[in-house]
Assembly symmetry: C2
Homo-oligomer: 694 residues x 2
């Protein structure tokens, strides 16, 4: 599943990018192109179709980003939104109760009035891209380490502020080419988002973990939402119409979505660091937590309901990251990367005008030595548990209270005035909290912390005192009142004095460690992030100077457009795999045992279905985690599919796109309508989609 | 903990070795020396003490191997055996019941009559080493692939047979230097082994996983057994006497034990294979199973009792293997290995007489490509579950029935007449079986199998049919009667007709897959093991020819002697760590929360203990997993400690010994007696030990 949970999920409101308009396009499918630098000319030369500016604007405004890490699109003028089941499953789980498990049973509606608000969901529509390279680079000029980070934070806050202060506007400073260029992305935020439809987990994720990232495939991985404004369906004049006939083999198709992150422009030293430090740590960590969750869900249906979604994310992340690791362990792949780097370095060393860039690769190699020293500690002190769940609330409340006493431009990016809008929404959201799962996650975090830093580490001693990880987790979770949104709101509104006065154990614990977390972050950002940015900017400039041609920037969980064609591929055994599966294949593959068990709804509807209709398809589009839920559209910008995955060869796509093998996997638009109409009888929605065609 | 559970635990009765008597010793502590090639001269030059042949014979006959993967020694003339708690914990758990948990509470006796038989335990005493290089190499000459394996198996069976057929004699053909030389090791087997004493888990493994492989350390990791013959304590004239005063800093000390396996003589291509294929697979696999066990034991005290020991082994293996992986990910370490290899290759290429050996490194590199193709499947089809637990019984019964119809020399090594003695003992042993844990392990195995081979793999489809891994595991475990030793004995005695007639689901399942397992093994052994043996033999001969000097062979879980000194070391933060901790430190480190919770027995006894006595100590001896339970002895062959671990730097010892940092960790002999006498009041045993001094 190509959602955006990667090994470096440090995405926050102030993530950065940029775009270079003067570089020229290459002739390859590869590319996750920004909307203000799409290679229309290349597409025209290869396919005889030129996406116009109006076409691009229409697609951009019809596309959406789900703040949690997915993509989506408007598919009706009344705010109807299409994305994947696995992108809405968190909401489905939050709306479930011990009495009614919508994850297992599916969620369906008979009319608009039955659509139910997701407790904490945000859709972002990209309104405008503005170049702010000069502003940011001037602010950074001559600064290093902490001073540079400080200047960047201040400029980010100021640029965000320049976008206006409406709660439904969001502006991100985006760094493209690893700090080579900076753009300001302005979004409209939709925060009243309601669940319209979700199929049963068993058909949405048919084949489960064994079939994930494989093809042939037979998933009905769709979730439907609706954007609301002023308690009414939002008017969304820009939306994607449904294709009348779907796609054909070889047809030109586009994917508009938000790839989360790629690492194609990293240096060899950075790749080696990922191979030798990041993957060995991250993969074993995920594997162990996955094992805990696998056992947790066997305790009973309630535990399964609570943890099913989290287990799915761990499984998906494990498989995706293992695939990325394979690329870095492949000597041929690395040799290719090495040649690529050497070619650029040779060109730089031959051109006296580029002399200022020549040291950048060695600079980055040296930074990896510092990074190696800091890495394990930094991974611990920036652990997920400090940003999620009950402890996440506590850390946020403690830090927000302190940060709000400072001027806007002096704050950390996630506590600027603009960011605080989202922070408050998160704190107020009535999402269910499961104490047993919270305990599991906290005990796991504390255990790993002690294991990695050692029992004698001062921070570990401060955290644990005389308690075991399990005892500490239990005391914090059982004693806290932070699962109540009202309590969180009061603490937020009360600011520093409320925090100081609170005797909530989770707040006290967060307050005791918050400075340690911030100090580690500051050191890592000053000694690793800042100098890396300086060196990467040089490499980006060198690359532009030498090749004088357009390359797409590494993905940054911002809107990109990819072109490609419907196409099969040769699998690992050398057998050609056709690009389409059909609905009949779904029934053939079903065994009755999970994850190959079909829900009753499909078994009952089988007789009425056109089994020869395409179910899933494979295309050559270049996508990656974060693209989940992206629409697959034809040259008329009509929906022909819904991206939900890539094939096994797509996993190396983090480091490089292989046109011969890398494939994107989508649910075919024809199977989508067939299922919605005949299996789920979602007539008011299908009518709305079909009416929208006109 | 340095027990012998490594990534390549394919130890079986027919493991192989050899010894070269003519090569000369090097001047370094490094070395796990065989008893027939101990560098006494080097020791004499460095320390002024020459271990005589009588001294060596006495130490050898006092030393023991625990067939499950540990070391031990006789410490009284009445068969009293000292080893680690973590080497007897399996027996302790097997003797426990839901009503009495000896793992938590400890096991103690007041008199010999209370000693209790371990259901399935074997101690091996090394009686004789005989050179059989000519026999084996002649049998192998000119043969390749499956033919070579077949010849080796036949010669192994014949050589074993030449040792005699008594049930208490065991003979192993041991390959030293990866097939360069072959020796026949003849053992006396003790199979009536009784538990005398085991402390509480909490003090034996004080500090648990966080402190494992760390020093300073404070563990009371001792377990006492007794060897019986004819239902009476065995007469064991060769035993180690207890030192009167223990050791001192800098003193010469020896470790006599059974290091399980090292990889110091592998080629760069083999090391790269371990780094890029073995560790990424094995570590994530262990991590996930560990996570499952971590949750399993939280279900209740009974589940904790059942799975505690297995979880400990996974934790220990994970930490040990992670440390080995670190060595291979260290560019400096690998560069050193590369230089070492290049030096030998250069020397070979310069000497026309060695021309026949020159291709060996490239041969091995090419074999790694074959190995890479076969590896994932082979790991699945040789999974632990096929050799352990209920399914392990079933596979053994099915294969033994078929193999017994063949002549002795035509069988697989684990089913020769000699090996069948042990097979029958294992099948008859009344060890408890926990169905829920069996289900967990089988479901995990089947899940990983499907994940790694894919749901469409023919073997996976044959195994699972229409069932999920969990359903299959439950059906097999709930339906089988193999947890009853009588049922297993009947099936064994009934041979092929009993197997064919059985409708036990586990037997039927094992029968349906047995040929697949054997076919995979045959292919892997023919295409990887056999050509690797041929090439490694060349490299071994080249090494002897070029350096003309003694090096110790890689460890093979056979008896070795290592010399060294009591010595501290500089830790990762550059701080010097003294070689001794004391009993007082144990109490200082205790927090009351696991794994730093002391049992009542120690808290109660605190006032009576001499807190300044040494608790644990560090020495420079070269040991590795399998050495757990080895005695640490002085030049008088008196016990000064009990090996139970290494420091964190010892983990890279699989690939190379670093004299500056690598340390072995032992319980000090003084703490052992103090604890046994004053905490546990084990007077009859302490009296026996002290009487033995005379």
């Amino acid at each position: 599943m190509t959602d955006c949970r990667s090994k470096h999920t440090t995405l926050f409101a102030g993530a950065l990018i940029v775009l270079l308009a003067l570089i020229q396009p290459l002739l390859a499918e590869e590319g996750m192109w920004t909307f203000n630098n799409f290679p229309s000319k290349t597409v025209a030369e290869k396919y005889g179709f030129t996406p116009s500016q109006a076409w691009l604007d229409h697609v951009r405004l019809s596309s959406l980003r789900i703040a949690g890490g997915c993509s989506a699109s408007f598919i009706s003028p009344q705010g109807l939104v299409m994305t994947n089941h696995h992108c809405v499953v968190e909401c489905v789980e939050q709306l479930s109760t011990p009495q009614q498990n919508f994850v297992n049973e599916g969620f369906s509606t008979k009319a608009i009035a039955e659509e139910r608000k997701c407790p904490d969901f945000e859709l972002d529509q990209l309104l405008e891209i503005r170049d702010v390279t000069n502003e940011v680079q001037s602010a950074l000029a001559g600064k290093t380490g902490d001073e540079a980070n400080h200047a960047l934070h201040a400029m980010t806050a100021a640029l965000q502020h320049s976008c206006g202060t409406e709660a439904n506007i969001r502006c991100d400073v985006v760094s493209l080419y690893h700090g080579g260029l900076y753009n300001l992305y302005r979004y409209k935020r939709y925060t009243d988002v309601r669940l319209v439809f979700a199929p049963e987990f068993s058909v949405a994720q048919f084949g489960g973990d064994p079939d994930n990232f494989n093809f042939p495939r037979f998933d009905f991985d769709i979730g439907l939402l609706r954007a609301y404004e002023a308690d009414k369906p939002a008017a969304t004049p820009d939306y994607l119409r449904w294709s009348a006939n779907g796609s054909t083999d070889g047809e030109l198709v586009f994917v508009s979505g938000n790839p989360g992150g790629t690492s194609r422009q990293l240096t060899m030293a950075q790749l080696a660091f990922e191979r030798d430090y990041v993957f060995p740590y991250v993969l074993t960590n995920i594997a162990e937590l996955r094992g805990q969750l696998e056992q947790f869900i066997t305790r009973g249906p309630e535990q399964a309901r609570e943890a099913n979604e989290e287990l799915f994310y761990r499984e998906n992340a494990f498989k995706a990251l293992s695939g990325e690791q394979q690329a870095l362990l492949d000597p041929q792949f690395m040799a290719g990367k090495q040649r690529e780097e050497q070619r650029l370095r040779d060109a730089v060393s031959k051109d006296p005008k580029l002399a200022a860039y020549a040291s950048a690769w060695d600079d980055i190699a040296q930074i990896q030595e510092v990074r190696a020293q800091l890495y394990v500690r930094h991974m611990q002190l920036s652990a997920r548990a400090f940003r999620n769940g009950l402890l996440g609330y506590a850390v946020t409340l403690v830090q927000a209270a302190a940060q709000r006493t400072k001027p806007n431009t002096e704050r950390l990016p996630e506590y600027t005035d603009q960011s605080l809008v989202g922070v408050q929404e998160d704190l107020s959201a009535a999402v269910p909290i499961y104490n047993d799962l919270e305990e599991l996650n906290l005990a796991f975090t504390f255990t790993i912390m002690r294991r990695e830093l050692g029992a004698d580490d001062p921070f570990v001693r401060k955290m644990l005192g005389e308690e075991s990880p399990e005892q500490l987790a239990r005391r914090l979770v059982s004693g806290t009142r932070l699962s109540d949104p009202k309590v969180r709101e009061e603490l937020y509104n009360g600011g520093q004095s409320a925090i100081a006065a609170s005797n909530d154990p989770m707040i006290r614990f967060a307050a005791s460690i918050s400075d340690d977390l911030l100090a580690d972050r500051k050191e890592y950002e000053a000694r690793v992030d800042a100098p890396t940015r300086t060196a990467a900017e040089k490499i980006a400039k060198a690359r532009f100077a030498v090749y004088g041609t357009t390359v797409d920037p590494d993905a940054t969980f911002t809107l990109r457009l990819s072109y490609g064609t419907v196409k099969g591929f040769e699998n690992a055994e050398g057998k050609f795999v056709e690009p389409y599966t059909n609905i009949g294949g779904l029934f053939q593959r079903a065994t009755g045992a999970p994850p190959y068990r079909l829900p009753e709804s499909w078994l009952k509807a089988k007789g009425s279905l056109n089994l020869s209709l395409p179910m899933n398809l494979s295309t050559t589009n270049d996508v990656i985690g974060g693209n989940s839920g992206s629409p697959l559209i034809d040259r008329d910008a009509n929906v022909v599919g819904l991206i939900f995955d890539g094939n096994i060869f797509s996993l190396g796509g983090d480091y490089g796109y292989d046109a011969a093998k890398n494939r994107t996997i989508a649910v075919d638009s024809r199977a989508l309508l067939e299922g919605l109409r005949k299996v789920y009888h979602l007539d008011y929605v299908v009518d709305e989609i079909e009416a929208g065609r006109r």
